[in-house]
């Protein structure tokens, strides 16, 4: 009897019980509203050219890192070092390609991707070890490693020089970013390779978070770490793993970025962490974790990317743009807090 009553409820809830739906729906609504207004006001906004080549391709490499960040944040963590991690990874990618000059190009790229990924895992593991095993607060840990990794990038790049991909590889490496693939063989509907990589990463992350035991424990640890520990879950390993995975996503983003510029600079990617964290938060994954998820992050990311795309189109001057970005994040989260009544006035947990 109770079972029958329970079933439709679960079917309706879909992936998992979520208390974030208010915020998710408001963000979707806001996104839709902005898109409609933009399509009416701007001739270029609603075109394949703009949406796919500008908005989505740009969002793709941020989105890849946001997948890793979502895992970290659902587990209750935080990672400020993703920008620096991406920098070190891209420097590692170019250095490997330089070392492989003269080798067959596909072999060189394969080795470079492997080295970059390994670098990302290592740097993520450093964060994970500090947070999960030593017990240093995530904010403090990743603030420190942000500086440390940035320093490592500078040293590897010989004090901030621009490293270039060897001439012989350039055209092939460049294809990682600039290459296009036709959808269903229709020539005018082409997507870029970063979008495909993002779709792949998103799908794998989705699988990891919702269909594996590990993903289940990510929610458990974010929900109540102590209770999870008492239930026999290896909470330290779960937390550490989320940081390592986040490191992998940084490495993949670095590969794409290397394809785009054919260079690596120790000074790139500053500020990237803030955009990524903002996407996760705007989507509705709370600081402290336990709920939220990848679809939430995706809509958060799309909202921020569309706004980013529209700011110049609507003639918002550069000096005003940060104010708009900041206000959007603050308003979305504040509205959610007020609607759910979890603000200052309802202090009892």
């Amino acid at each position: 009897m109770t079972r029958d009553l329970g079933a439709p409820k679960s079917a309706k809830r879909g992936w998992r019980p979520s208390f974030q739906t208010v915020q998710a729906l408001s963000v979707v609504g806001l996104l839709a509203a902005i898109c409609i207004v933009a399509s009416v006001r701007s001739a270029t906004f609603f075109s394949w050219q703009n949406l796919v080549y500008n908005v989505l391709t740009n969002a793709a490499y941020l989105g890849i890192i946001a997948c890793g960040m979502t895992l970290v944040m659902v587990a209750g963590g935080f990672d400020l070092s993703v920008g620096s991690t991406t920098t070190v990874c891209s420097v590692a990618a170019v250095l490997t390609l330089q070392a492989m000059a003269g080798q067959p190009v596909w072999l060189a790229i394969a080795v470079a991707v492997a080295v970059t990924t390994a670098t990302g895992v290592m740097l993520g593991a450093v964060n994970g070890t500090s947070v999960a095993y030593v017990g240093v607060n995530p904010f403090v840990t990743t603030l420190s490693t942000m500086l440390i990794f940035r320093g490592i990038g500078l040293i590897l790049a010989h004090g901030g020089q621009t490293l270039s991909v060897p001439l012989a590889f350039k055209s092939v490496v460049g294809r990682i970013y600039w290459g296009k693939v036709s959808l269903f063989g229709v020539a005018e509907y082409q997507v870029t390779i970063p979008i495909l990589i993002f779709v792949g990463v998103f799908a794998v992350s989705l699988y990891l978070l919702h269909l594996t035991r590990f993903g289940h424990y990510v929610y458990a640890v974010g929900g109540n770490e102590n209770a999870s520990w008492l239930a026999g879950i290896n909470t330290s390993l779960v937390k550490a793993a989320t940081y390592a995975i986040c490191g992998v996503t940084c490495a993949l983003a670095a590969v794409i970025y290397t394809g785009m510029s054919n260079t690596a600079q120790a000074s790139s990617y500053g500020g990237l962490e803030l955009v990524v964290i903002a996407s996760v938060i705007v989507g509705g994954t709370p600081l402290g974790g336990g709920s939220g998820g990848l679809f939430f992050t995706l809509i958060g990311l799309l909202l921020l990317s569309v706004i980013e795309n529209l700011l110049p189109q609507f003639g918002v001057q550069e000096e005003y743009r940060n104010i708009v970005r900041g206000l959007i994040i603050l308003i979305v989260v504040a509205v959610d807090v007020l609607v759910r009544g979890s603000g200052k006035k309802a202090r009892r947990t």
């Binding site: 009553l5 329970g6 929900g223 109540n224 239930a231 879950i233 202090r347 009892r348």
Partner: protein, 502 residues
């Protein structure tokens, strides 16, 4: 395989210290298969700490543990679980963000065909199987966060009971259950016992022990007092063992006389928490509030104090007291000692002097702004003498004091302000017996000096021995008012749990 009656657990000379406090001091405990062994003692006697050692929560205990005849050192929960130890914790450890089914099988999720994957359908079916076996009225797909405290408790119990569990610890499982649920729980426990599982039953509610326990062990202030077969024990013997003295000697004679009404509360409501709460408090009166955990008693008190929003009217000394907030309450002479000392009481890291003075710093500062260390110290000295805070050192960091002395510091903070109304929420929770007796005397002194005191307590014998009147709260409503003196503890308990007599 163990036969019923074989000793499955032997703990010898267990010692555990927290910072300065020795929570367990050479405790012995043993358990047989198919036995229900009750572990009783006052709050803070060390019952939960002893069982936390068994659950593998502490890596730094002293003493020996032999489980199923083998010496073991329990250093983490995973190891204890693997050895077949299940614990139902007093402070619930359910995950609000997961469903009932996910909570029940947390840490034991069935895997799919591909290693590492999760078979959600199997998870639901297994969880449903456990719920059916226990006859718990829960749905596996419900999220846990919105469930009542009692239902979350059932989830926790279902989580601890697995196929391979051989030793189960119930840590005060009835503290927040109504009579029907307690009855059902006892049936479940007896069923587990019949399966040959050894059960440790922690409680400080002595009246229920004859219904369930085979043997009983009493702890007091971290030390072992004795182990007896339940059949040879009378309740009064047990309470004597727990307190170290007859119950009647704990309480001061009543010498307060209620006078004029000082605080009037009318129609206090907060949807989903409490409804239409109306009562009066008189000067020199101790007004008891009784109710189970989750009945809304704490929320009501917090609403009067202004720490929680609520509709309704409070009148203090004939004047309506609107826009209540802790700050304004303080200014108007209402003080409240919170239930959770660690979270809402002490300011960790600060000295005793600053903790005592925290609410009166304006009066202890030059021009109300610049801290005056001499006045702060003098105020702290006064309270240390008056309340007997040990060690008597104002510069000492608060967290190095024992629970009882921390509680005195928090009380001293409110007394420094000399409030007209003092709300005490579980003031004797987690403090030793000697300090309790002292607290009781202090309350009586304050009432005799004309203060109005609202006393919330789970220890019903405190209420009947101290309060002039007792309000019984159930499901967020005042269902009865009983006189304090002459009321029987069991009658008060019955009033708190019974349905349909309001």
């Amino acid at each position: 395989m163990m036969k019923p009656g074989d000793t499955i657990l032997r703990m010898e000379g267990i010692v555990k210290t927290f910072q300065a406090v020795r929570a367990l001091d050479g405790v012995d405990f043993d358990l047989r298969a198919g036995e229900i062994h009750a572990l009783v003692g006052e709050n803070g006697a060390g019952k939960s700490t002893l069982m936390n050692v068994l659950a593998g929560r502490f890596a730094d205990y002293g003493g020996r543990i032999a489980l199923f005849g083998r010496d073991v050192r329990l250093t983490n929960p995973r190891q204890a679980l693997a050895l077949g130890i299940g614990v139902i914790y007093q402070e619930l450890s359910v995950l609000g963000n997961l469903t009932v089914g996910e909570n029940i099988l947390l840490g034991h999720e069935p895997g799919g065909l591909v290693p590492g994957t999760l078979d959600r359908r199997a998870l639901r079916a297994r969880a449903q199987g456990i719920l059916d076996e226990l006859a718990f009225d829960l749905s596996v797909d419900e999220p846990v966060a919105p469930l009542s405290h009692a239902k979350q408790c059932l989830v926790e119990i279902a989580h601890a009971i697995r196929k391979d569990v051989r030793l189960l610890v119930f840590d005060e499982p009835t503290a927040s259950l109504g009579a029907d649920d307690v009855e059902r729980l006892f049936e479940v426990i007896r069923g587990l016992k019949a399966r040959g599982i050894g059960i440790v039953y922690i409680s400080h509610r002595l009246a229920e022990l004859p219904l369930i326990a085979d043997r009983v062990t009493v702890l007091r202030d971290g030390k072992m007092v004795g182990t007896r077969p339940m059949a040879d024990c009378r309740i009064s013997d047990l309470s004597h063992m727990m307190l170290g003295r007859p119950l009647t000697e704990m309480f001061p004679p009543k010498r307060n006389t209620p006078g004029e009404t000082i605080l009037k509360v009318e129609g206090l409501s907060r949807p989903g928490m409490f409804h239409d709460i109306t009562f009066e408090l008189r000067a020199g009166e101790i007004l008891g509030i009784a109710g189970l955990v989750g009945s809304g008693r704490t929320e009501i008190a917090r609403a009067v104090f202004g720490a929680e929003r609520a509709a309704g009217r409070c009148t203090l000394e004939g004047r309506v007291f609107a826009r209540r907030s802790p700050r304004r309450s303080m200014a108007h002479g209402i003080g409240m000692m919170q239930e959770d000392r660690k979270r809402d009481g002490i300011i960790t890291g600060s000295s005793v002097a600053l903790n005592v003075g925290a609410s009166v710093l304006d009066r202890l500062s030059a021009m109300g702004v610049f801290l005056d260390p001499r006045r702060i110290r003098a105020n702290a000295r006064r309270m240390i003498d008056r309340l007997g805070i040990r060690p008597p050192d104002p510069a000492r960091a608060i967290q190095t004091l024992s629970g009882g002395n921390q509680q005195k510091v928090v009380l001293g903070r409110w007394l420094s302000r000399d409030p007209k109304v003092l709300i005490l929420d579980e003031p004797t929770q987690g403090i030793d017996v000697g300090t309790k007796a002292q607290m009781y005397r202090l309350m009586m002194d304050l009432a005799a000096a004309g203060k109005g005191i609202i006393l919330i307590s789970s220890e019903f014998f405190e209420l009947v021995n101290l309060a002039d009147r007792i309000l019984v709260i159930r499901d967020g409503r005042i269902v009865r008012e009983m006189p304090g003196p002459g009321t029987d503890v069991d009658a008060l308990f019955a009033a708190c749990v019974r349905k349909g007599d309001s």
